[in-house]
């Protein structure tokens, strides 16, 4: 008994502290609307956190489309353990014909949060620190069965240097298992060729079970998922989350049907801490180091960044163009008025010339007449 000092109890102490204090977790969903982001989030947390787009409102000039970033904040409790959950989304995404700029708010958001955390961290008193650093970004890929689009590649590249990027094939029930495999392989090939650094669960070689689990997760990337918030009866008679088709039931939590369970394991069950720590220790530190390195020279950086952002906002750009157009039109109108005015002057000049000419003509006539008169006189 005396040999036991109590050091082996330290992990339990850590366990207790974490249990009692809870945690914060911020998840970002990226992808065009209609890919099942909302459904996935609600399925993942088994409660409706996000409300679906109101399709009735689509004909109104909606407020939604003007919101660049949408945050859902929640405090969830599972088995007495509390987390502050933040879900980041871009509701207006995909509403534009050109989506190149639509991703910018997401990228800006990640940088902004790192920036904000850094500024808070530097304050003398920082107990009230607000942490919205994004721990994982789920990138929803359209189940085309083809490959990644150039825009996907561009955006994933940008995201992967800032955040733990987790690619997902959504609505995988539109692809057959063979198609999914091929699609996954193609995506993995592109990710590798383009050197996109997606999140990969660490393999701890000294822990066989955990290493094996990580391997299974890695092999499943990009996770092909089915989302459903409704329960249907499967052939075994159980009520399960799934989608009912005339040809059968696509079950969310069936390993044969989708990678939902693996993805949930990666996000919450087994790798949540790793996502949190790698965000804090890798992504945030990278941002901070870059920023501190750069800030020696460039003090006015925040302003220039903001102005840069204006150009990224299509609506602002549109308004600027609109203003320019108004002026161009005004200039045109004025030019027209001036042209008319000038024409008037020319006309007037011509009229006057004619007028003068007529007088001159009169003079000539008079001169002629005088001449005649003189001649007549001379003959006399």
């Amino acid at each position: 008994m005396s040999d036991f000092v109590g050091i082996s109890n330290l992990p339990n102490q850590r366990y207790k502290i974490v249990s009692k204090t809870g945690s914060t977790f911020t998840l970002m969903v990226a992808g065009e609307s209609g890919l099942g982001k909302t459904t996935f989030i609600n399925t993942l947390f088994q409660t409706s956190l996000k409300s679906h787009v109101d399709h009735k409102a689509r004909h109104q000039k909606g407020i939604r489309s003007t919101v660049e970033i949408d945050i859902v904040r929640a405090e969830l409790e599972e088995k007495d353990f509390k987390i502050r959950l933040n879900i980041i989304d871009t509701p207006g995404f995909g509403d534009n014909v050109n989506n190149r700029r639509a991703f910018q708010p997401l990228i800006d958001f990640i940088d902004d949060q790192h920036d904000s955390y850094m500024k808070q961290e530097q304050q003398p008193t920082r107990s009230e620190i607000k942490d919205l650093r994004v721990h994982a970004c789920l990138y929803f890929i359209r189940p085309t069965g083809h490959s990644l689009k150039p825009l996907d590649i561009e955006v994933m590249k940008k995201l992967s240097t800032r955040v733990n990027l987790v690619p997902i094939i959504s609505k995988a029930d539109t692809l057959s298992p063979r198609e999914i495999n091929e699609f996954k392989q193609r995506i993995r090939a592109v990710i590798e060729a383009q050197e996109i650094k997606i999140y990969s669960p660490p393999i701890e070689i000294d822990d066989e079970a955990s290493a094996e689990h990580s391997k299974i997760l890695i092999e499943s990337i990009p996770f092909a998922i089915i989302g459903s918030e409704t329960k249907v009866q499967n052939p075994e008679g159980e009520m399960v989350l799934g989608r009912e088709y005339p040809w059968g039931i696509a079950e969310v939590e069936n390993e044969q049907h989708s990678d939902f369970l693996k993805l949930r394991s990666l996000l919450l069950r087994t790798n949540m801490l790793d996502l949190i720590l790698s965000t804090e220790e890798l992504h945030y530190e990278t941002y901070r180091a870059l920023k501190l390195d750069a800030s020696n020279g460039n003090k006015d950086d925040s302003r220039s960044k903001l102005t840069k952002r204006f150009n990224n906002n299509p609506q602002f750009k549109e308004e600027e163009d609109q203003l320019k157009k108004v002026f161009t039109d005004q200039v045109k109108a004025e030019e027209g008025r001036f042209r008319k005015w000038e024409q008037n002057i020319i006309n007037e000049r011509q009229r006057m010339n004619l007028d003068l000419e007529s007088v001159q003509h009169q003079i000539k006539q008079l001169e002629e007449q005088i001449k005649d008169l003189n001649i007549k006189k001379g003959y006399k």
Binding site: N9, Q46, S127
Partner: protein, 461 residues
Amino acid sequence: MTALESHQPDISSESSANYENCETVKETIRSGTPQAAATPSNSTDANGSGPVTPEVNIIRRKLNGYVGFANLPKQWHRKSIRRGFNFNFFIVGESGLGKSTLVNTLFNRELYPQKEVRDPSAEKQTNVKIETVSADIEENGVKLHLTVIDAPGFGDAINNSDSWEPIIEEINSRFDQYLEAETKINRTTIIDNRVHSLVYFIEPTGHSLKPLDITFMKKVHTKVNLIPVIAKSDTLTEEEIADFKQRILDDINTQGINIFRPPTYEKDDEETILSCQELMSRIPFAVVGSTDEVSGKDGNNVRGRAYPWGIIEVDNEDHCDFVRLRQLLIRDYLEELRETTAKKLYENYRTEKLRNMGIEQDHSVFKEFDPLVKQQEEKTLHEAKLAKMEAEMKSVFDQKVTEKEKKLQKSEAELFSRHKEMKEKLLKQVRLLEEKKTALENSSRNMLDNPSQQKSRKRIF
């Protein structure tokens, strides 16, 4: 797949079983339109141009189904084993109070070797020195990097004023070192050398605290987790200990000295609460240290000290509070000591330090992120930019228009005046000619009437 199942043993049993009945505890109604959500509580600012204080909506729910984030503490458990632990603590007290022995007893190993008996002729050093001993201890796969900081010479001099200075300097410099490390650009290899606890040894006088004890504790209690212990408590009877403890606690309270007390949490179970209360009731711990094994009453070997009148067992709770001290310092609250050091003591030190350096707190950076406020800010800036653009364009435009108008007016005026001038000239000419003509006509008429007269007139010309 087997590994996956072993990691998620309850997938099939628990998953989604309770999807519908997640109990909504307190749900703030998230307003349908984001605009309503952003409407600030201060109605004076309806147009949102001023500083907006957003109301943050938080959905609060208790989940009954299986989601999986409740596994995070378990993940921390695993992670903490991988990363290992570290702990730095200070032992302070006059020499001869059994500090080294106690440390050896606590960790059950010879961190401090048996001191050699000082050469009687050697001069006793009077300056307080700082010495550290480090060790890596592993127990059931859990690794701890331990550092014990000692201040030999403390309280040994005749005049002990300022004898605490080296100790405070040591505590501060360890904080400073951490502060510097966390301010660096690269801080991947940050090492926590901060003092997580200070065990202060009180001489078992049986009276009360000495002035040096009070002065010292008051000097350090805001910087460290202070744990006072009554050293060599085997010299006091049970009753004496109880009285002594009470007097010490009275002194601590009257002097406003903060000592470390185990933290409690909202949902602690009864057992935890009781054990915590029991622990608190023993403060300040009366301890006896010994690494020697002696044969106990029932014949077992125990750590203790054998006296002719009996054996005092270190690990026997009826004999001394050693077990409690170990519980507080290692078994149950080591991580809490570290947590308090990092979250409170260090933060206070840092705040003070930065303030003294003239760094002002910028409260504006602590606002809750609100996309609408953010958007509003950007919109305001954008509108200002637009307004500026418009004003600039308008002024240029107006100027150009005015210039052009003036030019046209001028040329118009010139045209009219030139025309007028020319016309007048011509009309004058006309008048002259007409006069001439009339004159001629008149003269010719006269000539017809009176030709001779005309002839004579001609001559005159």
